[in-house]
């Protein structure tokens, strides 16, 4: 019972805290660019403003356009319940494993792309086709990286993976290093961060995510943007908890959980800082160079798997 409560609590916390991470990254970026920068909780105000605005829908919009924001948001929220946040072995982790998680992301993306094409504007279609191209290249790399981890702990369940890693004495695993690098590149592509897509843009020929949600406004737009923020947090938590799991609560006692939550906060803040630094230092890549970047991600994940098979199994 306690576990269920905690699982619900952590899912709610993840959904509620997602805008904070986005705001933190934005704030860090502003500081890097010598700008004043709005407070990290500005994203909540933006979302609130969008929720209060009225909805205008194009005349030729179909039902898909109307229901897509709800589907995208709920699928992303459902994914939150699968990923262990502060403690592994919660009852919700038995719902789905890492492959289903990738499936959740794919489902959300499918409806996002459909919604982009629904109105029939050139921008939406362009954004959808780009998103699908990028994700078709990113998904195999992500699955390979996850399989590398799964092979080394003999399970595809995220929570089993993390608790197995926590129990093991610390060792350098070459396969983990490569899988982490591959997953970082995939995360950058999937969450639409800078070398692949510019999250700060609203009208630019090369945008991907913004192009698909260009026709949305009001509550719909708020849900879409919130879902994107949750996705960023999801990938952040996934990276942090899979590759730096130390400090996660092994028992469900309040002091343990508190320490774990604090450590996670510090790790995520560090990750956000690194992301902001990378985004300020890098230029956006040409769209036709993106397959090369994702090819690199795939090769890294493949090398991770190979080095696991060759070097670590005996």
């Amino acid at each position: 019972m306690n576990g269920w409560l905690l699982a619900l609590l952590q899912t709610g916390l993840m959904i509620a805290a997602a805008p904070l991470l986005s705001g933190w990254v934005k704030w860090c970026k502003c500081k890097f660019q010598n700008r004043q920068g709005a407070a990290p909780w500005q994203t909540y105000r933006d979302l609130g403003k969008l929720f209060r605005k009225e909805i205008v829908v194009a005349a030729n919009a179909s039902t898909i356009f109307r229901i897509a924001p709800y589907i995208v948001f709920s699928v992303t929220a459902l994914a939150c319940s699968v990923i262990p946040l502060v403690a592994p072995n919660l009852p919700t982790s038995a719902l789905a494993d890492a492959i289903v998680l990738v499936g959740f992301f794919a489902l959300g993306r499918f409806f996002l792309a459909l919604a982009g094409m629904d109105i029939g504007t050139a921008f939406g279609g362009m954004g959808s086709s780009r998103e699908m191209t990028i994700s078709s290249l990113a998904e195999p790399a992500m699955l390979l990286a996850i399989f590398t981890l799964a092979m080394s702990v003999s399970s595809t369940n995220l929570s089993t993976m993390i608790s197995a890693l926590l129990q093991r004495p610390f060792q350098l695993y070459p396969s983990f290093i490569f899988a982490a690098m591959g997953l970082v590149l995939v995360a950058v592509a999937e969450t639409g961060r800078i070398p692949v897509d510019n999250p700060a843009t609203h009208l630019e020929l090369t945008m991907v995510h913004e192009a698909m949600i260009l026709e949305y406004c009001g509550r719909h737009l708020a849900l879409m943007e919130w879902a994107a923020m949750i996705k960023l947090l999801l990938y952040g938590v996934l990276l942090v908890n899979l590759f730096v799991p130390w400090g996660m609560a092994t028992s469900l006692t309040p002091p343990d959980l508190l320490v774990a939550a604090l450590l996670l906060l510090i790790k995520l803040m560090l990750l956000g800082f690194v992301l902001a630094a990378a985004e300020s230092g890098l230029a956006k890549m040409r769209l036709f160079r993106v397959p090369q970047l994702l090819g690199l991600a795939f090769i890294l994940s493949l090398l991770g798997m190979l080095s696991h098979v060759i070097l670590e199994v005996r």
């Binding site: 080394s152 490569f178 090769i299 090398l303």
Partner: protein, 225 residues
């Protein structure tokens, strides 16, 4: 699946082995000449680190001499020599298009798997904890060979050849604490001479066919038909 505990230096050597394999993949994917030379130098650095670790953890002090040779030749002298050549031949910025680069990468992955299966019976002979790296070094050798096959520019082919030698050297260091000193000195000297000779060859090839693209050597006539 059990993970026997390794000492920290052994873990580091395994990680370095994986990184050396990664640098081989990078060499294969790199299209710019200067980038290629720098990647080769980094592979030398990794090799140097692995040799030093092996020398200090095993107590075979002659490995320090090999490490010093690696540092001097593969990290500084050969890259410097190649870089000078590239500058003098004025191909610094030349970009080589590798046909079907993703196909080549997949081939490299397949070669790695192949070398793993080939090495399976051999690695039973070694008792070292780092014996698994034999497969990695064989893969580095094979990927160097793949690079010679797929590249058309002579400089890239020479780098492929040198990285093959890197693979052999790594295999010797990690599986048997290095070759006898005489052999090692001989090989190092050979590589040194090869680097100088290749430089002369580049100029010969260029003055002969007007390009460093060795595909032109396949033609029998001097004028295009």
């Amino acid at each position: 699946m059990s993970f026997p505990l390794l000492t920290f230096s052994e873990q580091l050597i395994l990680t370095l082995a994986a990184l050396i394999l990664f640098s081989s993949f990078l060499l294969l994917a790199q299209t710019r000449m200067i980038g290629l030379i720098h990647t080769f130098a980094w592979q030398g650095v990794l090799l140097f680190a692995a040799t030093v670790l092996m020398a200090s953890s095993s107590g075979h002090h002659h490995l320090f001499i090999s490490a010093a040779l690696t540092l001097g030749l593969k990290v500084f002298f050969i890259p410097w020599q190649l870089r000078r050549l590239v500058v003098r031949l004025d191909i610094r910025r030349s970009v080589e298009t590798v046909g079907g680069s993703s196909l080549v990468m997949i081939a490299a992955g397949a070669l790695t798997l192949f070398s793993y299966y080939v090495v399976l019976p051999i690695r039973e002979l070694s008792l070292l904890a780092t014996r698994n790296t034999i497969a990695i070094s064989l893969a580095v050798v094979l990927i160097g060979m793949l690079m010679i096959i797929t590249r058309r520019k002579a400089v890239a082919q020479v780098i492929g050849f040198m990285s093959m030698e890197n693979g052999l050297f790594f295999a010797a260091v990690v599986s048997t604490y290095g070759m006898p000193m005489v052999v090692e000195l001989g090989v190092a000297f050979d590589v040194l001479v090869a680097a100088v000779l290749f430089g002369i060859f580049f100029f010969q090839i260029r003055s002969g066919i007007g390009s460093l693209d060795v595909d032109h050597l396949n033609r029998l006539t001097e004028v295009d038909k």
